[in-house]
């Protein structure tokens, strides 16, 4: 391979090197993604039994009940 050809190949490789770079710019209007409400979940096989996913009141009741498992003085 002639030196000129080698130079062209090297220059092309260098020029294309940035094409593999992932975009790092922030979207216009703020980059932060909005998190969804904690009680919104599709069943992934790990849900605790006894509450209805998507229902806030049910989730709150479940967490209150669950917290009482830490209470040695709670009536059983």
């Amino acid at each position: 391979m002639s030196p000129a050809r080698l130079l062209v190949v090297a220059a092309t490789a260098l020029a294309l090197a940035a094409c593999g770079e992932r975009v790092q710019t922030m979207p216009v209007g703020g980059a932060k993604k909005a998190d969804e409400p904690v009680w919104q979940i599709t069943d992934n096989g790990y849900l605790a039994p006894g509450w209805t996913p998507g229902n806030e009141a049910s989730w709150n009741a479940q967490l209150r009940k669950r917290a009482q498992a830490q209470n040695d003085y709670a009536p059983r």
């Binding site: 922030m26 980059a31 932060k32 993604k33 909005a34 998190d35 969804e36 409400p37 904690v38 009680w39 919104q40 979940i41 599709t42 992934n44 790990y46 849900l47 605790a48 006894g50 509450w51 996913p53 989730w59 709150n60 479940q62 967490l63 209150r64 669950r66 917290a67 009482q68 498992a69 830490q70 209470n71 040695d72 003085y73």
Partner: protein, 210 residues
């Protein structure tokens, strides 16, 4: 509306580090990062006390205040979370946090500091609840599964309490009143300050000893 908090009962903690292990296993926390650790006061001296420490999910979080790229947010349940897609790993939050909660994986070239990682109260991050993407970046979202943080739920002596601040404050208060002592070293007042009117997260009916 629930306001999630942790409290560690220094009279019960036996420094077993089970909470640390549970956290690492549940969230697949990378090597070199500990979202939770056990701190012992007066180690080796009679009367030593231990507490389990992680992110306290502050009502007025200093990490949120200093972040130059504003990657933190607080959920409706009072859990302080962050977006790893925005974090630049600058480390300001670790200097601001009084509990040493923000951690940085440093396994890259030249000791490169990765994106910040911290306790999420097992509430994941801004990705879809329970998704693979959420688990990869932030760990399990137990809260969305109707569970409490793994560290608190598996604590063998029930020293570490996690959940709605009102509920766990009541649990701790009942304990302290029953045994007649035990919140002097690390009680609710030490962890979260005395209640004051108008302050977010202030606990009503604070016990005298808490």
């Amino acid at each position: 509306m629930a306001r999630m908090k942790f409290i560690c009962d220094a009279e019960r903690c036996i420094e077993c580090n089970g909470c640390v292990t549970a956290c690492k296993a549940e969230n697949d926390v990378p090597w070199g990062v500990n979202r939770r650790r056990v701190v012992t006061l007066n180690d080796g001296v009679a009367g030593e006390r231990s507490i389990s420490v992680a992110c306290m999910h502050c009502s007025d979080a200093p990490c949120m205040a200093v972040c130059p790229v504003d990657c933190f947010y607080r959920t409706a349940e009072g859990v302080v979370l962050h977006d790893k897609d925005i974090c630049i790993g600058c480390g300001y939050c670790s200097y601001a946090c009084p509990f040493g909660a923000p951690q940085f994986p440093s396994n890259g070239a030249f000791g490169l500091r990765g994106k910040m990682d911290k306790c999420t109260f097992c509430a994941g991050g801004p990705e879809a609840n329970g998704s693979e993407a959420e688990f990869e970046k932030y760990g399990r979202n137990r809260l969305a599964e109707g569970k409490l943080p793994a560290c608190a739920e598996m604590c063998s002596t029930k020293a570490l309490l996690g959940g709605d601040g009102d509920v766990i404050a009541d649990i701790l208060r009942t304990r302290v009143l029953n045994r007649g002592k035990g919140s002097e070293v690390w009680g609710w007042g030490t962890a979260y300050g005395k209640p004051s009117a108008g302050q977010p997260g202030a606990q009503p009916q604070e016990g005298k000893k808490s």
